[in-house]
């Protein structure tokens, strides 16, 4: 008598859901490890949480009960709290260093190592800033078709 006879193979939907969750999670991991911008890092953390949510709901469907759903609700809650507090921290960090760079915080390194600084930053494909040319006051300037279409680089 096989003691595991009651274990059911997950359905294809569940398996696909698990795969999607795994992919999202892995993408989030890569993002957290690689990106330097603090905001993008947190976005990738949220992406990881999304992947977890998908996996949990898949399992919940497989088992046929609400456990996964409930957990996802709590994950949502905690994600919200985390986002709030973390963003406050990011703002504090920005206030101290003036930039959202995770590499700005290197003080905990070994005392005789030097700061890791970026070398050879790739050049930006910068579009020169186009400032609107204001005509003297009182006269509506002629509409510039091209300028209207362009937007400032974000």
């Amino acid at each position: 008598m096989n003691p595991l006879a009651d274990v059911v193979t997950p359905s294809p939907l569940v398996l696909d859901g698990l795969v999607v969750g795994a992919i999202l999670f892995a993408l989030g991991v890569v993002g957290i490890l690689a990106r330097r911008n603090l905001i993008v890092m947190f976005l990738c953390a949220e992406l990881m949480l999304q992947g977890i949510s998908v996996s949990l709901v898949s399992w919940s469907r497989h088992h046929g009960d609400w456990g996964g759903h409930v957990l996802v609700i709590f994950v949502l809650t905690v994600a919200a709290c985390e986002a709030a507090v973390a963003l406050v921290f990011v703002l504090q960090a920005f206030a101290r260093t003036g930039r959202l760079d995770s590499a700005a915080w290197q003080s905990l390194r070994e005392s005789n190592l030097s700061r890791t600084i970026d070398h050879e930053l790739p050049a930006i494909d910068t579009v020169p800033l186009k400032f609107p040319k204001l005509s003297p006051a009182g006269v509506e300037p002629a509409a510039d078709e091209d300028a209207a279409l362009e937007r400032e680089h974000v």
Partner: protein, 736 residues
């Protein structure tokens, strides 16, 4: 003696100075200027006991009794205090012919005529030196330490001559060497004194090495290290090396290569301790020590340990005639060379130091003849030399004390007017040293020359002595009453009859060698007289000059210093004649067990007073004194010196035959080179290796440190990679 048994007295002799030393060390600070009291009390008490022992032993030997025909029976008394060390099964028996192979060292003390004589000398001269030191070391900050060291020395030297086991002899041989080191380096803050002490110790070490190896060989050859016979628990008799059993057997001593090796190693040890060629270099430098120390240990007692050793082991030496001859050759050569060097020394103490070396050479020359006359003459000379050399050193110390530490003879002169007692006693001592009748040195030197002469011209002595017994005992002509009638037996035949095996050195044992040694000794006698009186005239005659260091010291020394001088002068004047004419010393010594061995005793000759030798000796001394007087009597001591007579030879003598320079180049410099190399290797290779090993963790750390970059994402990356590796491992394991 009545209520105290002899063995108790025997133990008291070393014990009392030792207690004195301990008390001096313990109470030195408390006693302050009276810190000499325990030491002097201990030494004085030991002297009294030693005299008691001597008289008791003399009574037992029967000295002075009539009956010239009886054989000298060996007299000894051995007391075993405790078993120091026992290794192996004491009851195990070894192969036939050797004693049990267990190793057992008893702390045994012995008393026999030789020991008793030396004990009196050691404690007596020690006492006089201690009294002298009260005045000499008066203001020295190390006052208690000096007396403690002198007491310890008296203890060690007494134990050395009383030890009845070769290992114990070695122990106290080292102990006297250590005392010598401590006393030479007494003023250790002075670099020359420290260096001299080190030099003395190291040169002695070479001799000590010889003694150690000789001890090993003795153990291997004879199976025991005891002098006396011992009995094991099961009743087996273990014959001692110098015990009655072995002494009675003429063939019991090993000759050949092993025997010669043992004897030569003893000779090496004696050369080291008694400052003979080539290990004599430490004694002149040892004059850096305080003069009383020089007087005690470098004139009278410690340097005579070598003489004692060779005399004690006479039966072993008799089995190797080549070794004996070498002893004489070394002795006579040393005497001559030291006398030559002494003629150009300007430091009074150095003159006396070379004189000591020279006189010790005489004693060795006498010992090496292998005759009973030679042995007893050597001991006789040891006794008289102790008196007059200690006297001379103390006189020099008195001069040095008055002259504010200056001892260069060229800087003072005519001191007899300021220091009459010192001058008179010094003169008496010099006359004794030069060998002028009727002072002590004359008789003893005469005996030495006689022993050498008897080996060089054996026939002359043979005829001479055959006549004597036939004519009955002419008491005036034959003061020495020795018992044996085998007077016509020549020493060579006696040794051959002893059944020894020859060695390569025996080729030296030819009459021609002995004649050469005789003439060398005669020349040395002349030189001795010369340099002694040169020193006397330079110091005490001529215009009175005092160096400025003397200050207000330039007066006669205090009684604590002059009284010992007077006592010793009296002894130097009288003892020779007394001991010679009452025939006491020789007959007393003949009962020493070592000298009753057939190989030694058979060489006994009823002696005569050798007029021809006496005349030759006195002539040599007179020549020396006259030449010295021509050069220095009445003149300023810083006037023209020996240079104009000697020319280039003077450089040779003044540089002490370049022994120090040769040793420095051959031995010291290579050792220094090795030491420097070793230091370099230690500092760069070994330390470098250790430092390299120490740098490995630092290097590893420097590499690993880069992980701690402070960038949090890198930490997270490391964590993720680690987790993945673990999971991969688990998955791989799960999948098989």
């Amino acid at each position: 003696m009545n209520d105290l048994s002899p063995s108790t007295l025997l133990v008291l002799v070393p014990l009392l100075p030792l207690v004195g030393a301990i008390l001096t060390v313990a109470l030195g600070r408390v006693l302050g200027p009276r810190a000499h009291l325990p030491a002097i009390a201990g030494t004085a008490a030991a002297f009294v006991v030693a005299v008691m022992l001597l008289t008791g032993m003399a009574r037992e030997v029967g000295v002075g009794t009539t009956g010239h025909d009886h054989a000298a029976k060996p007299v000894e008394m051995v007391t075993t205090l405790w078993e120091w060390a026992t290794v192996g099964d004491a009851a195990a028996t070894g192969d036939a012919g050797s004693a049990a192979r267990s190793f057992s060292i008893p702390v045994a003390l012995r008393l026999d005529p030789l020991t008793a004589t030396l004990l009196v000398i050691i404690t007596g001269v020690g006492l006089l030196v201690a009294i002298y030191s009260i005045g000499y070391m008066h203001d020295d900050p190390g006052y208690p330490r000096f007396f403690a060291l002198v007491s310890v020395f008296v203890f060690s030297m007494s134990m050395l001559v009383m030890a009845s086991n070769f290992l114990l002899v070695y122990v106290f041989w080292e102990a006297v060497g250590a005392c010598s080191y401590l006393l030479i380096g007494f003023w250790f803050t002075k670099p020359e004194a420290a260096k001299a002490a080190k030099k003395a110790f190291l040169v002695n070490r070479i001799g000590d090495f010889g003694l150690a190896v000789a001890t090993f060989l003795l153990w291997m050859t004879y199976g025991t290290l005891n002098f006396h016979d011992t009995t094991l628990a099961d009743g087996t008799l273990v014959p001692g090396i110098l015990g009655a059993t072995r002494l009675a057997d003429a063939s019991a001593y090993v000759g050949g290569v092993v025997g010669t090796a043992i004897c030569l190693l003893f000779l090496l040890a004696a050369c080291g301790k008694s400052a003979q060629l080539p290990l004599h270099v430490w004694l002149p430098d040892a004059m850096e020590g305080p003069t009383p120390a020089s007087s005690l240990i470098h004139a009278a007692t410690m340097v005579t340990a070598g003489i004692y050793l060779v005399a004690r082991t006479a039966p072993l030496f008799e089995a190797c005639p080549g070794a004996l001859t070498l002893v004489s050759i070394v002795g006579a050569t040393t005497a001559l060379v030291a006398a030559l060097i002494g003629t150009v020394q300007n430091d009074l103490k150095r003159v006396l130091a070379y004189s000591t070396i020279s006189q010790l050479g005489y004693m060795f020359a006498s010992l090496g003849t292998g005759t009973l006359l030679g042995f007893t003459a050597a001991i006789f000379h040891l006794v008289t030399h102790a008196f007059f050399k200690a006297l001379l050193f103390m006189g020099a110390g008195s001069v040095m004390h008055s002259m504010g530490g200056v001892i260069d003879m060229r800087r003072f002169g005519g001191l007899r007017r300021i220091m009459p007692i010192t001058a008179t006693t010094f003169l008496i001592g010099s006359l004794a040293l030069a060998g002028v009748a009727p002072f002590a040195g004359f008789f003893s030197k005469d005996e030495i020359l006689a022993s050498l002469h008897s080996r060089g011209w054996p026939d002359a002595h043979g005829e001479h002595h055959e006549a004597a017994p036939a004519g009955g005992h002419a008491a005036t002509a034959t003061p020495f009453h020795l018992a044996f009638h085998v007077a016509s037996v020549t020493p060579d035949a006696a040794q051959l009859a002893g059944g020894t095996r020859g060695s390569a050195l025996d080729a030296l044992n030819a009459p021609a060698t002995w004649r050469l040694l005789f003439w060398m000794s005669l020349v040395t006698a002349a030189l001795t007289a010369f340099y002694t009186f040169r020193a006397v005239f330079m110091t005490f005659t001529g215009p009175t000059r005092v160096p400025e260091e003397a200050g207000h010291h330039a007066h006669e020394s205090p009684p604590s210093m002059t009284i010992p001088l007077v006592i010793l002068a009296a002894l130097a004047a009288v003892s020779g004649w007394w001991l010679f004419s009452t025939h006491s010393l020789a007959s007393f010594l003949a009962s020493t067990p070592s000298f009753t061995a057939p190989s030694v005793a058979s060489t006994a000759t009823p002696p005569a007073f050798h007029w021809d030798l006496a005349i030759q000796g006195t002539l040599a001394a007179a020549i020396g004194i006259v030449v010295a007087a021509l050069g220095h009597l009445g003149r300023r001591s810083d006037g023209p010196q020996m240079e104009r007579f000697l020319g280039p030879l003077e450089t040779l003598f003044a540089n002490r035959f370049f022994f120090d320079q040769i040793y420095s180049a051959l031995i010291v410099k290579p050792l220094e080179l090795i030491a420097t190399l070793a230091a370099l290797v230690d500092r760069h290779v070994i330390d470098g290796l250790v430092d390299a090993i120490a740098r490995v963790p630092a290097g590893l750390g420097a590499v690993v440190r880069h992980l701690q970059s402070g960038l949090v994402q890198r930490y997270a990356l490391a964590g993720v990679i680690g987790t993945l590796l673990i999971v991969l491992a688990l998955v791989a394991r799960a999948m098989g």
